[in-house]
């Protein structure tokens, strides 16, 4: 046996690749909501106007339906979904309350600048049961935000407007720099939406919320430019192992 036999070659370590940080964040949110009792449902990215707008009480006159805000396809026969809410509509039509769904995935808006992309990701949740109140919604949102940003995070609810919820709210958290940052939108499901889904709105009520995955990922990882997520740059992706 020569002396060389005692020399061990350096260890070969196969380095892991990276799951995309947006999908990591999306997965984190879905796991959190699943633990609370929400079931994940899926649906198409190319939607009918009926499911993307009408069923959600978004009237023909709503600015979001205009060609400058929404991508229409195939001679206006369909749209690229502008939110994941139509997935919930499809699921509500197939289920009886109580029900708790999350829908997640890509959504599209006709924007393209340094802070807005034509495609981004949402995670939305809906819970329908008897006696669901705005006070319950606040509790749920607190649970989600405490999990994401710690129990000490300061949370603010502001009135807002979404055709599919009433009352509607936007929720902010106070950043370390003392600035309020918008985090999510939520509200009590508009009874019109429940009725559209053949749910008795006199008996049942619901709460709904939606988070922008990119927004959460940017805050959690400290990425300042949303466009970085979509350059497919291995130097960038390697940081999220």
């Amino acid at each position: 046996m020569s002396t060389l036999d005692n020399i061990q070659p350096p260890k070969v370590i196969v380095e892991d690749g990276t799951l995309h940080p947006i999908n990591q964040t999306k997965g984190y949110l879905l796991n959190l909501l699943e633990e609370m009792g929400f079931k994940q449902v899926h649906g198409p990215e190319i939607e009918t106007e009926e499911f993307n707008f009408d069923m959600l009480n978004i009237k023909k006159s709503h600015p979001a339906r205009q060609m400058h805000d929404t991508f229409y396809v195939e001679g206006k026969s369909n749209v690229l979904r502008t939110h994941t809410s139509p997935v919930q509509i499809r699921s509500m039509l197939e289920t009886k309350p109580p029900m708790a769904f999350t829908s997640a995935g890509k959504v599209y808006r006709k924007d393209d600048d340094s802070t807005h992309l034509p495609m981004f990701h949402q995670v939305e949740g809906i819970y329908v049961d008897e006696n669901v109140t705005f006070a319950n919604l606040k509790d749920l949102i607190h649970q989600i935000l405490h999990n994401l940003f710690g129990n000490d995070v300061e949370i603010r609810f502001r009135p807002s407007y979404f055709p599919f919820t009433e009352p509607s709210a936007e929720v902010d958290i106070l950043s370390d720099s003392g600035k309020w940052l918008e985090i999510l939108g939520c509200g009590i499901v508009n009874p019109i939406v429940l009725e559209n889904c053949k749910i008795d709105s006199e008996k049942y009520s619901g709460l709904a919320f939606g988070l922008g995955v990119e927004r959460i990922a940017m805050l959690k990882y400290g990425v300042n430019d949303i466009r970085e997520f979509y350059k497919s740059n291995l130097d960038f992706l390697a940081q999220f192992k």
């Binding site: 799951l19 009792g37 393209d112 006070a135 319950n136 606040k138 009352p167 009590i188 740059n233 291995l234």
Partner: protein
């Protein structure tokens, strides 16, 4: 909408500070920024009624009390004999006209009017139009001023197919197309209703006689027109969001009052056309329902008191004011109450979901992702838009540009772009994958979840794999080895058509997830998913990197580990990566040859050879001083 703080105070009994005002506006849901004395409001699209001083004052009444700061002309106004016909009654429920003639004109405005222009930076146009613009700011109702002399025969309002050129009062020529709500006279369009008047009937600095039109247009009839014709229109902005359906005559009387504040009126006449009387919405008083929606314990007296202060009548039922087109249901009223109480003042009530549902389905995409990541692949997400069109492509009707007219029908082109992008960034071992829904038209729209993966370059950055290349065999071993068939078809992508000078072969696999056999998934570990760790991101450098390779000859074998330790423990802000790329034991000479690579890159600049060499010398100096360690040729 911009408004002057002092202007708003005129309509409030209390005189809150800017901070107090701001706080309450936020509580009510009216976002804004404050610049000096100007509040720049960003209102939600359902609150057209708040797009004015009086609109916001009505909201703030509950906190600060509202004073009736608007003086209107109260005297009798003669009936106007006007040759007008409303042929668009569905689009315009109510329209009123004021025929007003003055003696002389003035541009010397009283402070309330002058401030609107000087402080908010609005341009003056002419006497009547200036008043019209101010009234829109004060009351939220747009009006349009025709030069009376130019409206001299029968005119109509009609929602009709139009195909002609129209010159706006700003001088812009637009091509009207499709259905538009228009005022016409003698077959000529004189105004694009609710958006902008025409040049042929516009008032000017010399106008002494004007016909003021004041209407309620359905939002649906106006929406999108200003964008379609690229016109910036305050009137359209307000009509799209809904104005007060019953305010037209009051607004015109206010118009008269402001004219009277500035000029001698020679004559005024007014006429209103109403296609349907406004029906006040009535909602039952139901405090149980309101508390049920909010989770509060309000009593009825409190509830009704809040509503009254917001302008609702509360007798046997709740009557919604004409300006609140957004209120139709108990949930709408609940939101009103929540805004007044303050969303943040409503206590949370713990929520426990009754039905806990376990997601028992195996997430195949997730299993594959974990498997690929464990084997060194990085996931990418691409936009689905492409210029490439095939017979199955779904076409975007309104693309962002001509390069993004179609929905992609495969992942390949996106992944090739990603690969070339990373090669240009000096990456020499690339393994990428993407899982995405792909849509095709055939003839109906079909959706499939597709996995695409691409490889090229070195097999690995270590002494075993550095000189080997990622190839077909690698992918076959990774994906097909334990299967009864080659389900994953590996194809080579020729470089000839690609914009690259690299020579490494590119291999690619694309497969629908539902065509991957169960056998493949059964070999994957469901518990293999990594926990998400939200690491702090550090900005990546955009400057080029430089590589330096060293080949050490080690005759004193006891020093091998020491050399490796020194190299592996070398760190510096400009060393981005380092690894052993060669390790060879020469039996004949009893020496070890060690190849080591450093990759240098600065976050701030392109590094010069001199800077890198200086760093290199510092690294290797202690190594080559070791007994029996040398770099041949150095």
């Amino acid at each position: 909408m911009k408004l002057i703080y002092q202007d708003l105070l005129k309509f409030l009994n209390d005189k809150p500070s800017k901070e107090d005002l701001s706080y309450k506006l936020f509580q009510l849901g009216h976002e804004h920024e404050i610049h000096g004395d100007i509040f720049d409001m960003e209102l939600t699209p359902n609150r057209g009624d708040c797009l004015s001083l009086t609109g916001l004052a009505r909201e703030l009444n509950i906190f600060f009390g509202m004073s009736d700061g608007v003086e209107i002309y109260k005297d009798n106004i003669e009936n106007l004999d006007i040759n007008f016909e409303n042929l668009a009654a569905e689009d315009c429920l109510k329209i009123s006209f004021l025929d007003i003639e003055i003696q002389g004109t003035t541009s010397n405005y009283r402070p309330y009017l002058e401030n609107y222009f000087s402080i908010l930076g609005n341009n003056k146009t002419n006497f009547f139009t200036d008043i019209s613009n101010y009234i829109s700011y004060e009351l939220g109702q747009p009006t349009h001023c025709f030069n009376r002399d130019s409206v001299n025969s029968k005119f109509t309002l009609e929602n009709k197919e139009t195909s002609c050129t129209f010159k706006t009062l700003l001088g812009t020529e637009i091509n009207l197309a499709g259905k538009n709500c228009v005022f016409s006279m003698n077959d000529e369009i004189i105004s694009l209703a609710g958006v902008m008047g025409g040049a042929s009937t516009a008032c000017n600095l010399d106008t002494k006689s004007a016909l003021i039109e004041c209407a309620y247009f359905n939002p649906e009839s106006i929406i999108g027109k200003s964008v379609k014709y690229n016109l910036t229109s305050d009137a359209a902005h307000k009509f799209e969001r809904g104005v007060d359906v019953a305010a037209q005559e009051k607004v015109l009387r206010r118009f008269v009052q402001i004219v009277q504040d500035h000029a001698v009126i020679r004559s005024i006449k007014m006429k209103s056309f109403s296609s349907k009387e406004h029906e006040c919405i009535s909602i039952p008083i139901d405090i149980v329902k309101i508390n049920g929606i909010l989770g509060t314990q309000l009593n009825e007296a409190q509830y009704l008191s809040y509503l009254e202060k917001l302008g609702f009548e509360t007798n046997t039922s709740i009557k919604v004011p004409s300006y609140r087109g957004d209120i139709k249901s108990q949930n709408d009223l609940a939101e009103e109450i929540a805004r007044v109480i303050g969303y943040n003042n409503i206590d949370s009530v713990p929520l426990k979901l009754k039905k806990i549902i376990n997601n028992s389905e195996i997430d195949k995409a997730s299993l594959i992702e974990s498997f690929l990541v464990r084997n060194g692949f990085s996931e990418v997400i691409n936009f689905p838009f492409t210029s490439i069109k095939d017979k199955c492509s779904i076409v975007i009707d309104n693309p962002l540009d001509s390069n993004r007219e179609n929905f992609r029908t495969c992942i390949k082109d996106s992944l090739i772009s990603n690969l070339l992008y990373n090669e240009r960034r000096q990456k020499d071992s690339i393994k990428l994958f993407e899982i995405s829904d792909i849509y095709k038209k055939n003839p109906d729209i079909k959706q499939k979840k597709i996995l695409g993966l691409i490889i090229s370059g070195r097999l690995g950055n270590d002494h075993i794999n550095f000189s080997k290349k990622l190839d077909q065999q690698y992918l076959n071993q990774l994906l097909n080895e334990n299967l009864d068939n080659e389900y994953f078809t590996v194809v080579e992508i020729p470089r000839i058509d690609l914009d690259t000078k690299k020579k490494d072969k590119i291999f690619y696999v694309e497969i629908p997830l539902d065509e991957i056999p169960e056998l493949f998934f059964s070999s994957l570990d469901e518990t293999d998913k990594k926990l998400v760790n939200f690491v702090s991101y550090i900005s990546i450098s955009e400057f080029p990197s430089s590589t330096r390779d060293f080949s050490f000859s080690i005759t004193n074998l006891s020093k091998v580990n020491e050399v490796i330790d020194i190299l592996e423990n070398t760190s510096d802000s400009i060393i981005k990566n380092s690894f052993v790329f060669d390790f060879y034991k020469n039996e004949k000479t009893e020496t070890v040859k060690l190849g080591y690579r450093f990759i240098f890159q600065s976050d701030f600049k392109t590094l010069s050879d001199e800077e890198i060499n200086k760093k290199v010398n510092k690294i290797i100096a202690p190594i080559i001083q070791l007994d029996g360690v040398s770099i041949p040729g150095m």
